[in-house]
Point group: C2
Chain length 463, copies 2
């Protein structure tokens, strides 16, 4: 990509409404990066289009002048997908926050890409419906960004990934053309489903500008229980007990002692009674049905796989209990964590967990580890916190060496090196572990079809 000269930037400024292109230092820093901290932001400028048409004008300008673009949502990504470290123009969807409408009969929400997930959830609630994609920063993360990254979250076990909820979308692809893939009927077999390519494309094919997502009927009653567990074997035994409740299991989340301590500190809360804060592992089960959590915890206690249990049927107190799990990510953020986001088949967990402990115990000795994740679907987040004294580049290099061992273990178990965070910049080096040469050729071929001049988030996912 060429560095555009100032006359090109003036042309862009003239294409958009006043104030829609910014180059002040504060905006450049804020919109030049996501939640990763390994790259210094260095964008060309930040553009804030307000419509699909304005976005298309930006993309056509970029194509004419061969300027690299970084599509930008809520910037809560953990793989560097929204980082602009190389003179790119960031195209932020933050002004495109219009709710287009909810059709309760069709159970579909439609909005611009910059609508937050909190807004989608609130709009759904007005009609007695819900949007089941849910994780920590719902008031920051945006509809378009969560689709471009195929976001997961805490209810994937029951409800699936973002991909499972996208009914239609509109996108400006790298060619500058608008693809209106907005027919939102569930049954629509008319050739290759192009929207599936944009879902999870991390901005490398185009910019999603509008989207329709399906909404669900919420479970009538739910119940929650937090178990304190002493060993990995007990953790799996408790999970096995939960599986007996079939599709009534809404979430099955776990974290370790370090995660408990950090999150309670972040929330300024005492350990929840009676489970306390001293166990090796914690397991949170959420179920459809008022009694199920209690029955589950009783079965686990009878089986002696859980040390103590806290059952919460009250909605507000259950929400507060959820916060312990949801704030682990925020509580580790100040410690410059190196994140692993891997998944293995549930059936592989009994072999995987001890082998992982071996690898981490050997390679990460002396470093602070925090492990948590979505036990129900085999998705683990392994966070290594940077020792204060270690320079960031050394820490990153050491972390990548451990990655090699973790990834080797994951792929041998039939799992994935990136469960829900995506590849972005952070995992490019490992993509070939998951993708054969013919697959990589297909990825690049598809990229060329959508983005013939390579202006859409170049260098993300693959070079």
């Amino acid at each position: 990509m060429d560095a555009p000269d100032s006359s090109h930037l003036s042309e862009l400024i003239a294409l958009l409404p006043p104030g829609a292109v910014r180059t002040d230092a504060e905006t450049m820093l804020e919109f030049g990066r996501d939640w990763t901290r390994l790259h210094e932001p260095r964008p060309l400028a930040i553009a804030f289009p307000a419509s699909t048409e304005q976005t298309a004008a930006v993309v056509r300008w970029a194509r004419a002048h061969k300027v690299a673009l970084v599509p930008s949502g809520g910037r809560t990504g953990l793989s560097g997908g929204a980082v602009a470290h190389n003179g790119q123009l960031v195209v932020s969807m933050v002004r495109m926050n219009r709710v287009i409408g909810v059709s309760p009969a069709d159970r579909v929400f439609r909005g611009q890409a910059g609508v937050t997930i909190k807004t989608v959830q609130d709009e759904a609630k007005r009609y007695g419906l819900m949007y089941p994609i849910d994780f920590a920063p719902t008031d920051t993360m945006q509809l378009g960004g969560t689709i471009a990254t195929n976001a997961g979250g805490v209810h994937v076990l029951r409800y699936g990934m973002t991909r499972d909820w996208v009914a239609g979308l509109t996108a400006v692809i790298g060619s500058g053309e608008v693809l209106d893939l907005s027919v939102a009927v569930r049954k629509n077999n008319v050739g290759y489903d192009l929207k599936q390519l944009l879902i999870g494309s991390e901005g490398t094919l185009g910019i999603i500008t509008e989207a329709s997502v399906r909404l669900a009927a919420p479970p009538s009653e739910t119940s929650l229980a937090l178990l304190a567990v002493h060993t990995a074997d007990d953790l799996l035994a408790c999970a096995e007990q939960a599986r007996r409740y079939g599709s009534a299991v809404l979430a099955l989340e776990f974290w370790d002692n370090a995660g408990m301590t950090l999150s309670l500190g972040y929330l300024k809360r005492p350990p929840p009674s009676p489970v306390g804060g001293d166990s090796r592992w914690y397991l949170l089960g959420e179920f459809e049905g008022r009694d199920v959590a209690r029955l589950w915890s009783l079965a686990c206690q009878a089986d002696r796989c859980c040390a103590s249990a806290l059952v919460e049927a009250d909605e507000e107190r259950a929400k507060a209990l959820w916060q312990i799990r949801l704030k682990i990510g925020s509580s580790v953020a100040p410690y410059t964590p190196y994140k692993n986001d891997i998944s293995v088949p549930v059936s592989a967990l009994p072999a995987f967990l001890p082998a992982l402990a071996d690898v981490l115990g050997k390679d990460r000795a002396g470093e602070r580890l925090v492990v948590w994740g979505h036990l129900g679907d085999g998705n683990l987040h392994i966070n290594c916190l940077k020792p204060d004294a270690m320079p960031l580049p050394d820490f990153a290099a050491a972390s990548r060496r451990v990655d090699d061992h973790v990834y080797d273990l994951v792929t041998r178990c039939g799992g994935s090196i990136s469960a829900e965070h995506g590849i972005g910049l952070m995992k490019k080096h490992a993509l070939s572990l998951m993708r054969s040469p013919p697959e990589l050729a297909a990825l690049r071929g598809i990229k060329s079809v959508f983005d013939p001049d390579g202006i859409m988030n170049p260098g993300k996912i693959f070079d």
Copy 2:
């Protein structure tokens, strides 16, 4: 595509085990067509590979000699996707019927592409699980074929399309390379999801040779009710009543008087008492929960939107009642039906149904119409039966003229001209109604990436 000379065919025969290439008239007729009857089968030969490797050998042979291939599953398709009318080599998956395994902990079934859906369902049942893709000929339709066509069926309302259940697959693409997209973890964000392109590709990108599908926990108890309804308004009012039961609605199927008469005739059964066989419309609702069907029928009767109701909680009798709906397709087959398979948003049905009746009343006057479908997800099958005296080509031409009016109506309602049957040969002429020029360019670009020499089912979906 060139017509291969006989030395080329000898080369193919030598590549495969004895008997795996057939050219006898009976096999050529049987495997040269699907359930459509508008094209005369005229294949080059029929190949029966037994493994992914043998399939790859066939594709590489075809690419070397520029021979067009028609991938072939259970041939129950209704859009001509598996028709070989032009000297193509049919590649049948019928020998590839090996069950690779079920992992109950992961809730995943894996098998070769030629495994029937009945086998998938039976294997799932052995572990107390279910495979929710379900429509009439489960003992014929194959796993690979249902994935290549993104099959729907009667439970889409609750469970979604085949796409929603595919965990992983292996395919030989048109380049002759094998894509092993078999990592079956639900969370796997590692670049564009290539399997999504093969799902619904109707054999134009490659041949699916193995697949993993997710299995579900079955609903604990279900109940069924058949309502007799007099008007389209009443039909929608009864559907609206069903929607109140949220995700407990498993299926909501409707058919007309003609469909009732034909199916009862096919099944050699009297009209079910007390609903009888004289109503204009019938609506079948299946629910999770023993009492829900009864409550629904009582609510509809109290609302005076249903004339009479038959509630069936007994499993065997419920199965028999389902047969009336499931056999409509078979019962119209002898009458050379011209099929429309369209979907509109549920919210558009109140405006769409009367407008459709107008169009059909005008354009199809004097012809026998049978209308049925999946009311719960807005998917209608409109079948026009060929008058005995009318030659087939005239009937096809007349039918396409009516299509224009139906499709116009459908697209104005935000619906789809092909809900679950696909495009194949039958709807190519109408594809541009659903796909803009940039979309069509993207479809063709993707086709070139997977199938550079255009040997995979050429002329299907698009030319």
